[in-house]
């Protein structure tokens, strides 16, 4: 099962990189979402896959009964999802504003901060 999921992680990351290398900003954003999901899956697989009950301590006990799933990777993934969600929301607003301001979603046309025809500096002191 780990091998299959690892291949899936590779597929996620490969597609994400393909999308991020695109010039269209929307595709780049989708690529980032995909990359985040691939990495979350990677953490999940890295934490080992165990068949077991949810790690919830029953009433009156100190430890969960029987075999239980490793809760730490899930906590890490949950944190990463929350953070990734916040950042993606911000980037989505940003891309929308940039589209409004520059009328471009093609990164080749976003050259305000780095003008294309950079002048040469003077050669003398």
């Amino acid at each position: 099962m780990e091998a299959a999921l690892s291949l899936l992680v590779g597929l996620f990351v490969a597609s994400a990189i393909y999308l991020i290398l695109s010039r269209a900003l929307v595709r780049v954003l989708l690529g980032i979402v995909l990359l985040g999901n691939g990495v979350n899956l990677l953490i999940f697989v890295a934490g080992r896959l165990t068949r077991g009950a949810p790690p919830i301590v029953p009433k009156g006990a100190n430890v969960p009964a029987g075999a239980f799933a490793n809760p730490l990777p899930q906590a890490l993934i949950l944190t990463a999802i929350v953070i990734g969600f916040a950042l993606f929301a911000f980037l989505a607003v940003l891309a929308f504003r940039a589209y409004q301001a520059m009328d471009a979603d093609d990164t080749d046309h976003m050259r305000l901060a780095e003008p294309e025809a950079q002048p040469q500096p003077p050669l003398e002191y």
Binding site: I56, V93, R97
Partner: protein, 134 residues
Amino acid sequence: MNTLIFRTTAPIIAVVTCTFSLILLLRGHNDPGGGFIAGLLAASAAIVLGMALGVGTVRRLLRVNPIAIAGAGVLLAAASGAVSAFAGAPYLTGLWLPLHVFGTPGLFDIGVYLTVFGTVTAIALALEDGGEGA
């Protein structure tokens, strides 16, 4: 989005969603549930209202700017962890009232609820608004 059916049912949906979010928040005290998903649910109520009645109406209904709500949430969550300084315990140690009726983890959860609700609502309203005031 501007049909009569949607405009009529949206407030009802919002009320039900808000109530359910409060239940989830309180249930998170000892069972699955908690501040984060409850906050998301409450924010979705605001989003539905924003789609049906307009962003201005939602902002008026909220009275307080959602960003300020998020700030209050962070403040509450950070402060709930600092209570343990008086008990000689490290930051974020859970402290409970007698009989475990309520404790600092509950305060922390309410802080998370407010933070998530405020942030998500602010971003969603800004997007519904057409990107103004984000």
